[in-house]
Amino acid sequence: MKKLSARRRHPLAALVVLLFALAATGGLYGMFAPAEAAKADSSAQSLQIDEGKRLFAVGCSSCHGLNGQGSSTGPSLVGVGSAAVDFQVGTGRMPAQQPGAQVLKKPNIYSQDDIDAMAAFVASLGPGPVTPTKDQYTSTETDAISKGGELFRTNCSQCHNFAGAGGALTQGKFAPSLENVDPKHIYEAMQTGPQNMPSFPDSTMPEKQKQEIVAFVRYQANEAPNPGGLSLGSLGPVTEGLFGWIFGLGVLIAIAIWVAAHTTKAKKS
């Protein structure tokens, strides 16, 4: 021990102690660390992220950058979460067809697995809203539609119209129609606030209220029977006025012309 003690002030002593400490910590970690987690990481999730990264590099990186850091043509995707990817790609809005006032919906060309992979990659860039599961966006309450209607008229109808038919925003932007939109995508849109839409995170609109809105939109835009007949697009008095002029007054004037043309003749002419 004397030998060791004598060298304790040697210039390299600190380095040796550090090496020992590191080796001990590493060794202890190796002994106690959960081995399975490391294994799973190397198999499913990280493979999915790798796959996502590959797809991302092909389909998205020209605007959003190879690591989703964003560029002059596309915003940073750090922290947007998997829900944003699932919505944007799942509805066909991304990859964008062309720049413009608003990125338009188009047929989605990716499989759900591809979308999940890209979502996993983007989620790995930073924490954000997570793709909801089916029970998150499906309401089982019986009064969900009426409650959702009130919430919808308070929060959504000023842009999306009372029946979810959509409406205009400034400079060529618009709130799209909600007809035939997947309930998952409605939920994700509220979570993430795509394009010009404000986001409604759980802190301002709890999950239950979002479920109710989804239930109302699904009912209003898809299932609701229209007891009055043709809905004329559910666009309010503008289309009603047009219909009244063309099919109401137009037909009546045509009939007036017909009646006036068929008249009794005092003499044969």
Binding site: S146, F174, G229, S231, E240, F243, G244, L252, I257
Partner: protein, 551 residues
């Protein structure tokens, strides 16, 4: 023998007149003795009306008005004009448990529980939309044909008042169900009232009985909608029709038609049958419309809450130009001495009646310019009054431009345009489009006048090509028949107003007022050289047709 026996029978009742042939005649006799229907019928049943489809536009108005009253009475049986709050629990499940007003709940009840209620509601609303549209077209028919001239100026004003009241009664009816759309409309109106300088807030508190929306507005609107305005309209309508009878109907120019006669067919039986049949056709078309297309689906709008609003919140079409005025007006404000003058709303509020009054006042302005005190029963063809036709077309174009401003959001979404661009277009277009339309229409009318002149002087093209001995090819023109010549040349043309000579016979400068000078200038712009084509005279026609070769 038989006469003696009947005489014996008649002796018992102390009758002084012949026995009626049947029960109908007996009933008519009874009524004639008390109401004097024989003389009324004698003077009116054979009244002559001229035949033209455009004379039936007023009938569409009358019939839709009757349909509105009939269906409206049915609706009042079930509608509860109250803002009392109830929890809705009815057959429209998606609104169950929602807090609504009694007005809204009873409208849902009419739509879903009352037998035939929804159909009647839709007939009422569609008929209202068609009613105002028909009044609009009827008014423009009268305008373009000059049927508003003496002696019909007052009837023109009655008709205009009917249109104006129709606008407001329609708006009130739209406000009654207390759904999200009607509440937004009332909010719009409140904003307009508040924009009135000085008294705006007082007016608003008076109308709403306090703060918006309060509980008074629906019952008050109900009374005005079902009682006050329809009452006035009914009175005006009767006066309008009495005046039509009194003045007799106008007619198109033609052989045998003068300012002193009416050529057509009698009310009984021809027009009784035609008009009666047309009533059922109108009712049928409106009912068919109401059966196939929904109008104002209040259940989809939801109940009104002041914190909620939906896009596509427009008024019915006739108020759409007011909506357009508001939408395109820049949001100017003047703040002074702690008060705000909201020009962004106040200017549209002033322009709204001015746009309407502009068309109503035109007949009086035209009469002032022409100074014509004679009666006119022969209609003008629109082309023969180019300035009037141009002004009418310009007015319609202004109305349409503003209307498109009111629907700018739907134009934006459906034609993939920018909302802002449409708004800028409407702002500029309100000034430019009517001017452009005026000049195009006027030139168009003058072109048609030239064509008429050409037809009168040179006949119509027969399509027959003739080759002359020296090889020239000509198309043979055929003279128009005498009747057509008369129709095309019977209109009269005003001379522009001549200002008196600058000095009178004593060489003293004559004083000509500014008003007279303006009048002369306007007269020149209506009837001066280049503003109407001199119609062919009999001498010109004689000259050309007397056989000096072809032309």
């Amino acid at each position: 023998m038989s006469s003696a026996s009947t005489g014996g029978k008649q002796a018992a009742p102390a009758s002084t007149r012949a026995k009626p042939a049947n029960k109908a005649e007996a009933a008519a006799d009874y009524l004639d003795g008390r109401l004097g229907i024989y003389s009324l019928a004698k003077s009116n049943l054979r009244k002559i009306f001229p035949d033209h489809w455009s004379f039936m536009l007023g009938e569409i108005c009358l019939y839709t008005f009757i349909i509105i009253i009939l269906t409206g009475v049915y609706l009042t049986l079930f509608f509860k004009p109250s803002m009392g709050e109830v929890i809705y629990n009815g057959s429209y499940a998606p609104l169950n448990g929602v807090r609504v007003s009694e007005a809204y709940a009873s409208t849902l009840n009419i739509s879903f529980e009352v037998r035939g209620g929804l159909l009647i509601r839709q007939i009422h609303h569609w008929a209202a939309i068609v009613f105002v549209a028909a009044m609009f077209v009827h008014m423009m028919r009268v305008f373009f044909t000059g049927a508003f001239r003496k002696p019909r100026e007052i009837n023109w004003v009655f008709g205009f008042l009917l249109l104006f009241l129709g606008f407001f009664d329609g708006f009130l009816g739209y406000s009654l169900p207390d759904d999200l759309l009607s509440g937004t409309g009332i909010r719009f109106m409140e904003g307009a009232i508040l924009a009135v300088p000085l008294v705006g807030t007082y007016l608003s508190f008076f109308l709403f009985g306090g703060q918006f929306p309060g509980t008074d507005i629906v019952p008050r609107f109900f009374t005005i909608h079902v009682l006050l305005i329809p009452g006035i309209m009914l009175g005006l309508l009767v006066a309008h029709l009495i005046l039509v009878f009194y003045h007799k109907h106008t007619q198109w120019a033609g052989p045998g038609k003068t300012e002193k006669n009416v050529v057509g067919m009698p009310l009984m039986p021809v027009y009784m049958a035609k008009a009666g049949g047309f009533f059922f056709l109108v009712f049928g078309i409106i009912a068919a419309m109401s059966a196939i297309a929904s109008v104002n689906p209040v259940w989809a709008y939801g109940p009104y809450r002041p914190d909620q609003v939906s896009t596509d919140a427009q008024p019915d079409w006739y108020m759409g130009f007011a909506e357009g005025l508001i939408r395109v007006m820049p949001g100017w404000e003047i703040r002074a001495w702690g008060h705000t003058l909201n020009l962004g709303v106040f200017i549209p509020l002033v322009l709204f009646p001015l746009v309407l009054v502009a068309i109503a006042a035109y007949p009086f302005i035209e009469n002032w310019i022409t100074g014509d005190k004679r009666e006119h029963h022969i209609l003008d063809r629109p082309r023969n009054a180019p300035v009037r036709t141009g002004l009418g077309a310009a007015w319609i174009s202004l109305y349409l431009v503003l209307l498109s401003g009111g629907g700018n959001d739907l134009i934006a979404t459906h034609f993939h345009l920018s909302l802002n661009d449409i708004t800028y277009f409407v702002r500029a277009g309100s000034f430019i489009v009517p001017v452009v339309v005026f000049f195009i229409t006027k030139r168009w009318c003058l072109g048609l006048q030239r064509r008429d002149k050409e037809k009168v002087l040179h006949g119509r093209e027969t399509g027959v090509i003739k080759r002359l001995p020296h090889g020239e090819m000509i198309e043979v023109h055929a003279q128009l028949p005498q009747g057509a010549l008369h129709t095309l040349t019977s209109h009269e043309q005003y001379e522009p107003l001549e200002l008196p000579a600058e000095v009178d016979e004593n060489g003293v400068a004559r004083k000509v007022g500014l008003v007279t000078k303006t009048r002369a200038k306007l007269s020149e712009s209506m009837f001066g050289e280049g503003n109407q084509i001199p119609k062919p005279t009999a001498e010109e026609h004689q000259e050309i047709t007397s056989g000096h070769g072809h032309h």
